[in-house]
Subunit: 315 residues, 2 copies
C-alpha cells in the first residue's frame, strides 16, 4: 500500500570525524522516501528551489518515488549545515536557511489521495495537521517531531498528536514531551496525548516500541510486560559511523515502509517493522548523506535483517 | 560447578528519588553471590569487621553461600554512602570508608580450591591478580573493574586483564580503557589486552557481548557480525527504579552463575547467560540494597527471562 510523506527535501553540508561533504541531497522526506521505497510505493509532498535539478530528481526516480507533490518554486531549497565533530550522537547546527521552506504550503496531488499510509516528517506541526486533515481516508498515520516544536510550539504539536497512530521520536524528545525523567513513565504519558503506539529511538542502542491496550490497526492485544506493552529492537554496533544524518528518518522509512507492505498491521508486523527500521538506520550511517541508501539492494537489507536476528535471538 | 568470588562485603547508605536507606548490606561480592546463588554454588572471599553479625550472615546462609572465606577482623566493615538524586544511572559518592578493607589480604580456604569458576569483583587489581594466581586450576575466570583502577592503576590492571577470560564493564569504562570513542573499536582494543570475551553493560539499554575468534571455553566459533562477534541482551524498561546500586554486580552474578551451571560454555550458553544477567540486574533495581535479591524465587527469574525473550524475539 502506498505511503504519502510530507517533509523537507534539502541540501546539507555535513562535517563528521570522517570528513566534510558539501551540499549533499538531504531532508527528512528524502531519507524517509529512499528508505521506504525498498518496501512499498512512496509519494512525496515537499517544496524545492531552483537548485534542485535533474541530478536530484534522478535519485528519486531511480527509486520510483512519486514526485508529483514536490513543488518547484523560485529561490533556494532548504539548506542545513551541521557537524558531529564532538559527538556522533548529536549534531551541532551551524546554519539553517529555510529559504523556499519558509512559505511552504503543502498541496496534495489528487493522485495521492488514495494513499492508505501517511507519514508526517519533522516539520511545523501546523503544516502536519493541515496535511493530516486533507487526507481523512488514510488508514494509518505516523509522525516525527523535534525538541524545537516540543518546547516552543506545544499547543500546535498537541493538536497533531491527537490524530497520530504512531509517533517516532528519540529518548530526549520523549522525556521532554512528558516532562518526566523515566522513559517508561514518559512513554505512557506521551501515549495519553494521542498516539496509540510510540517508537523511541535510542541511537546506537536501538529502539523501543511502546503500545497501549488500544489496538493500532490490527495490532494484536498481547501483554508482554508490566506498564505499556513493549518490544525492543537492537541497533548495529558499527565499527565506523561515517555520518549519522538522517538515521532517524531512515529508521522511520524502513519501519513504516515495511508496515505498509504487509497485508495487516499485526503485532508481528510491528516487531518486524522495528527491525527493518533499525536495519535502515544502520545503513544510513555508513556513508555521507543518502549515498548508502541510494546504492542499497533489497538483498543487503534482508541479509542485515538476519544479522539483527542473530544479534538478539537466543537460538 | 562452583564459583569462587573475591570482592567487597560492605554496608551502604543510599539515597535515591525513592528514599533513603541507612547501612544496607552491600558490596560487589554480596550482590554477585546472592545473584549467582540462584544458579550454582557460590563461595565468597572477603573481609568484614565487627559490625558484620548474625543478621548479615543469615542473608548468605539463606542462599547456601559458602562463607568460610569471609575473614572476620577487628574494626568496621567497608562503608559506602552515595546518592542518585540527579541521575539514576550514576551514583554520586559521598563517603568511602575502606576500614578493614584497607589491609585486605585475600586468603583462599582449601575447600575453595576445586572451584572451576572464579569471579574477580571490582577491587584493587593487585589483589585480583594475587587471587587469580592462587587458583591456577580454574576453568574460566571473569572479572570487573572501575574507572578509578583504569585511570590510576593501569599497569596493575593490565596484568589482571592478561589472565581474564571474560571482562564485564560498562560503556564508559570500555571507552576509557581503550582510549577510543567508538564502542566496537574499543571492544576490539580491550580484547587485545587479554579477555577473550567482553560484556559491556549499557544500563537501561541492556548489554552487549563481544567475543573474539579465540574460543572461550567451548564457545562455538560462529561469525555473527563484522568486527568482533556480538550478541545484545535487552534490559527491562522499568516503570520505577528504586535503587540501581549493585545492578552491575547482580548482572555479573546472573551471567556467570548461569554459565557455571551449564555442562558446557557454548555460544548458546553465553547468549542465555547474557539474558540471565540482564534479568538479575533488573530485579536488583526494584528494591533498596539486596532486598529484592534476598526474596527472589527461581520461578520469578524464569518468568522474567521469558518476558525478555518476548521483548526481543520476533516470533
Amino acid at each position: 500500500m502506498a505511503i504519502t510523506v510530507v517533509g523537507s527535501v534539502a541540501f546539507d553540508t555535513i562535517e563528521t570525524p570522517a570528513g566534510r561533504m558539501e551540499r549533499c541531497l538531504g531532508g527528512a522526506a528524502t531519507y524517509f522516501s529512499l528508505s521506504a521505497s525498498f518496501f512499498t510505493d512512496v509519494r512525496v509532498i515537499a517544496v524545492v528551489g531552483e537548485d534542485f535539478g535533474k541530478r536530484q530528481e534522478a535519485v528519486f526516480q531511480a527509486h520510483k518515488i512519486d514526485m508529483r507533490g514536490i513543488e518547484h518554486t523560485a529561490g533556494k531549497s532548504f539548506f542545513w549545515e551541521g557537524s558531529y565533530l564532538e559527538n556522533l550522537n548529536e549534531a551541532k547546527t551551524h546554519v539553517t536557511d529555510l529559504n523556499v521552506f519558509a512559505s511552504f504550503n503543502p498541496k496534495i496531488p489528487d493522485a495521492y489521495r488514495d494513499s492508505e499510509f501517511l507519514f508526517l516528517a519533522n516539520i511545523d506541526p501546523v503544516l502536519q495537521k493541515r496535511v493530516r486533515e486533507s487526507m481523512p481516508g488514510v488508514k494509518l498515520v505516523a509522525g516525527d517531531t523535534m525538541n524545537y516544536w516540543i518546547k516552543d510550539h506545544r499547543p500546535a504539536l498537541l493538536e497533531v498528536l491527537k490524530g497520530l497512530d504512531i509517533l517516532l521520536i528519540n529518548d530526549t524528545e520523549t522525556k521532554m514531551l512528558a516532562g518526566n525523567n523515566n522513559l517508561t513513565q514518559s512513554a505512557r504519558a506521551v501515549m495519553a496525548l494521542g498516539p496509540k503506539a510510540l517508537v523511541v529511538k535510542h541511537g546506537e542502542y536501538g529502539a523501543t516500541l511502546f503500545h497501549s491496550d488500544t489496538p493500532v490497526g490490527d495490532l494484536a492485544n498481547r501483554r508482554i510486560g508490566f506498564g505499556p506493552r513493549i518490544f525492543r529492537a537492537p541497533a548495529m554496533p558499527l565499527e565506523k559511523v561515517i555520518d549519522p544524518t538522517g538515521a532517524g528518518d531512515s529508521f522511520a522509512g524502513g519501519f513504516f515502509g515495511y508496515l505498509a507492505s504487509q497485508p495487516e498491521q499485526s503485532l508481528s508486523a510491528f516487531r518486524h517493522a522495528m527491525f527493518y527500521g533499525s536495519v535502515m538506520g544502520s545503513f544510513a550511517c555508513e556513508r555521507f548523506g543518502t549515498e548508502r541508501l541510494q546504492k542499497l539492494t533489497r538483498a543487503e537489507i534482508d541479509s542485515r535483517f538476519n544479522l539483527f536476528r542473530e544479534l538478539t535471538h537466543l537460538d
